[in-house]
């Protein structure tokens, strides 16, 4: 991964000349950020680990005997009848830990990673400005939030289709939809999860501005997500529950109802927007007043 970072520098330095065109500079900065992020072996390792979850589930169900209904995570017992349920099961299983873990790694690395490599000041030498760099870094983390659930869903649908029959999918309401609409529902759930992870990414971004040790920011982000989920389970903290960013994480079941229930999607989006605003502002306050030493 260090080898990919210097490739970044000539790019931003190249766009440094037309200072009169800040918008194009921001866009090319974003493009280079995405190129670096998704060119990294680490990012691919994270996505591969996520894609391994549905594969593991599908193979385990394939080689073992039938799962009795009501046992294990939701949808697990449906897999043998319909391979598309691998995608739903895998997304459900990966929400509490694997998604926050991978997002924590990416978001925690945003600023601290550059700082630890000593490349942060080069990025800021270009007339990009700290605000723009922060926005671009956050956009990169968001891009990963979009790609990660999609990876799980699509890998699940693919391995499910390969190992099990694919047919009309029974929704939670008892209605049945064709596989094409089921694929749309998978994408909707991925969108729901992408929105769900936006708040955590903002927290990771803020934590990343606090330190030059990326591992610290990553670990702290993951710990925050675990703490939030534990707090969400404690009935004594019920007043706090609607304010926890993980509160609606498992609400994506609403995407599997007939008619579709958008309430939790909307509540989740508002909640995550609040977290993005608060921690984005904190990250801004910290990053623009920080002495960049590396």
């Amino acid at each position: 991964m260090p080898s990919s970072v210097p490739a970044d520098i000539p790019n931003t330095a190249g766009t440094a000349l037309p200072a009169a065109a800040p918008r194009s500079s921001g866009l090319s900065l974003l493009a280079s950020e995405l190129r670096v992020l998704f060119g990294r072996r680490r990012t691919w390792a994270l996505l591969l680990a996520l894609a391994a979850i549905p594969v593991l589930i599908a193979v385990a169900v394939k080689v073992s005997s039938a799962v009795p209904p009501g046992r294990g995570p939701a949808f697990l017992d449906r897999i043998t009848q319909n391979g598309l349920f691998v995608a739903f099961t895998a997304m459900l299983v990966s929400v509490p830990l694997f998604m926050p873990l991978t997002v924590g790694v990416v978001a925690g690395d945003t600023i601290a990673g550059e700082a630890s490599l000593g490349t942060l000041r080069y990025l800021l030498v270009a007339p990009a400005g700290r605000v723009r760099l922060l926005l671009v870094k956050y956009a990169g983390a968001l891009a990963f939030c979009i790609v990660a659930p999609l990876t799980v869903g699509l890998a699940g649908a693919a391995i499910g289709a390969a190992l099990f029959p694919v047919g009309p999918v029974t929704l939670l309401s008892g209605g049945v939809v064709q596989p094409s609409e089921a694929a749309l529902r998978i994408v909707l759930i991925a969108a729901y999860l992408a929105v769900s992870l936006a708040g955590l990414s903002a927290i990771g971004l803020f934590l990343s501005t606090l330190t030059v040790v990326p591992v610290g920011a990553m670990a702290a982000t993951v710990v925050v997500s675990v703490v939030s989920q534990v707090a969400d389970q404690l009935p004594q903290l019920e007043w706090l529950h609607p304010w926890l960013f993980s509160h609606y994480w498992l609400g994506f079941g609403d995407m599997l109802r007939q008619p579709l229930a958008w309430d939790s999607f909307a509540s989740n989006a508002i909640l995550q927007a609040g977290y993005v605003a608060v921690f984005g502002a904190l990250a801004y306050g910290r990053f623009v007043t920080k002495d960049i030493l590396s």
């Binding site: 209904p69 949808f75 008892g174 498992l250 309430d263 984005g280 904190l282």
Partner: protein, 393 residues
């Protein structure tokens, strides 16, 4: 950042200190969004939680007029979301891990599960023959669909469906019976009707300040028992100011500040729902059970009347006291009923030993199972149940 640099040139020193001041101010300005964002959110949340001001006050009405408005309401097609939350003091059910608990309709545990904690349900109603209730659990759903004389129950958790064909004579009475049989979250309309029927000289009925429920202005009908010998402190029913439909119900225990039970619409549309929601065919792969036709629907266990938790408990019912102080009891000890009631792990856990039997105590209802197997229940303090049990012996 030393501002008092010993510079030879006084002018440059002055300039530098001026720059430091503006730098400091700019530093603070940069933290401003971080301070402002939580404040704006807090202000927004506060504004949202405040009761909506009576921008367009409803014409004043007496309690009798509001009751009449509610009794004569003619809303037979709507779709909406109902939220119910109850803090009855029962042990909370684990949200996950009890595979069969929410699914087994009709069992005492499933009734208690539905009456405790928080539930959200979507309710669709069109005419008297089309209804659908969707209890939205996390990653699961329980459905009751009535389409004409077909009634379907569906639970997504174990993918089971049950079907009942209603006999002809059961088609005209109100839908409420069907919902009660299923043990599904009742609509506010049904619950409010029950309380309106209780209004008699034992009760003070008044109309409070207007409230807003699901964005609709509503009369707030307040019902307060005139006696101290009941657990119920206050019942508030929101009656739609336009069409008289009951929109929410809150029951507060005596001496409590917050309602122990509340059920109300969070959104409501009076348009006729799309007919497709009333069509139900059991999904492929589901277990379908054909339930026997209910001959006498009136005998169906009514989960909302005290003592209705188990069908057996309705045999030989004795009634002591009137109004709010009513105590229902089984006259003879039917040990089997008591045993089966206490066999439920949840109930046996919640019941505490008291002199003369075991007491299941909630904020609004007490149930006493005596040592010889009789059951007494009422919205009264436990002492009254014990007294009734002793008197009946």
């Amino acid at each position: 950042m030393g501002s008092n640099t010993l510079d030879s040139s006084g002018r440059s020193q002055e300039k530098r200190s001026w720059r430091n001041v503006t730098d400091g101010r700019r530093m603070w300005l940069r933290w401003l969004p971080a301070v402002a964002a939580p404040l704006v959110i807090a202000a927004g949340a506060l504004a949202g939680s405040l009761p909506a001001g009576a921008s367009n006050p409803l014409p004043a009405k007496t309690p009798a007029q509001v009751l009449e408005l509610a009794a004569s309401h003619q809303v037979h097609s709507f779709s909406g979301t109902v939220e119910q939350s109850a803090e009855l003091g029962l042990p909370g059910l684990p949200a996950t891990g009890k595979p069969s608990a929410p699914a087994a309709a009709g069992s005492a545990a499933s009734v208690i599960e539905l009456l405790s904690g928080k539930h959200t349900a979507r309710v669709y109603l069109d005419g008297k023959d089309n209804a659908r209730v969707q209890v939205m659990d996390q990653l699961a759903e329980r459905d009751v669909v009535r389409h004409g004389s077909d009634v379907w129950f569906y639970s997504s958790k174990d993918n089971t469906a049950a079907h009942v064909t209603l006999p002809e004579h059961a088609q005209d009475p109100s839908l409420s019976k069907d919902h009660h049989m299923a043990g599904v979250t009742p609509t506010p309309a049904e619950l409010a009707q029950k309380f309106l029927a209780k209004v008699d000289p034992t009760t003070a009925v008044s109309v409070g300040p207007d409230v807003s429920v699901a964005g609709r202005a509503a009369y707030n009908l307040l019902i307060e028992p005139r006696t101290d010998a009941t657990l119920v402190g206050k019942v508030a029913i929101a009656v739609d100011g336009e069409n008289g439909m009951p929109l929410s119900l809150q029951v507060t225990a005596r001496g409590a500040d917050t309602p122990a039970f509340r059920s109300g619409f969070t959104s409501l549309s009076l348009d006729a729902p799309d007919q497709s929601v009333f069509n139900f065919t059991p999904p492929p792969g589901s277990t379908v059970k054909e339930l026997p036709v209910p001959d006498k629907p009136r005998d169906a266990p009514d989960v909302h009347s005290p003592g209705g938790m188990h069908p057996d408990a309705r045999k030989d019912v004795s009634v002591t006291g009137t109004g709010w102080e009513t105590v229902l009891g089984t006259a003879r000890g039917s040990a089997a009923a008591a045993d089966s009631l206490l066999q439920d792990p949840l109930l046996s856990q919640a019941a505490v030993a008291v002199p003369g039997g075991r007491l299941l105590s909630t904020a609004l209802l007490n149930v006493l199972v005596t040592d010889d197997g009789r059951i007494f229940a009422g919205m009264v303090p436990p002492e009254r149940l014990q007294a009734a049990a002793a008197a009946a012996q």
